[in-house]
Amino acid sequence: MKFAVVVFPGSNCDMDCYHALRDVVQAPVECVWFREALPPDVTAAVIPGGFSYGDYLRCGALAKHAPVMKSVRELAAKGNPVIGICNGFQILTETGMLPGALLKNTCLHFLCHDVDLKTERKDTIFSANLKDVVRFPIAHGEGNYYIDADGLKRIEDNNQVLFRYCSPEGVVNDGYNPNGSLNNIAGVLNEQGNVLGMMPHPERAAEMTLGCDDGKALFESILGALV
């Protein structure tokens, strides 16, 4: 069992993810450069946040074509866990591995603050150990989740929404929607449930030194599913 953290030119949360995995949950992990393929012993991949390729063209649009993504697709196709955080989420939607797309925040501001998230399911490889409501930071300009009406119905019917922006008590409404995301969606799964994309950053809330350790449980959940 081993994690890979994929590094693109412009990634800036790669070392945070690496630290959370290696030092906080003590999992075997290595960073993999975008020009390489994932090593054969890798069983889970993290696509970290940042500004891959400077966000040129569209967020995630150029990273989609990076050589490493072929092996990320292959890993996901085998049913192994793949998680994309922030820019990683944008990359996974660009590749089509996750439904929908991330548009500019409706307020047009870059948002950088903590949010509360309702964990919609505990029966996934990412969420078994998570609390009902978790608090993670967001840091994005393009986190406004969009999908057409048919797609929205499909992902809701299939229970593919894992996280929604909510109040500290877990109430989901427009008042707690920071960026205009449809149905307050902050994180979605693929149909098979082994690929997760989320705008909030669990790796930035993985130990009390950072003020909150709710994110630790997400990495522990993946670890628990792999062992």
């Binding site: 074509h65 797309a101 409706t106 406004n144 969009y146 057409d148 205009g180």
Partner: protein, 83 residues
Amino acid sequence: MAQAKVIVMLKKEVSDVQGVTIQQTMQKLDHAEVAKIRVGKYFEIELNGDGLTKDQLKQKLEDICENVLSNTVVEEYQYELLD
């Protein structure tokens, strides 16, 4: 060298928050006649298409538009291949 022009716009049904914000600012700038603005991207492309027919070049261009220049989940594109 063949030349192409590509325009990528958000689909009509997708809210264009940049366009709305610019339009609202226009109103405040004494340009009340501006009723709507939509923001898109414009590309000028030079294609080294030696030995390719116009149809083959069009196919290349379509592939570029579909798979790189636009995200068809939220955007639509139009292109023009110039002689």
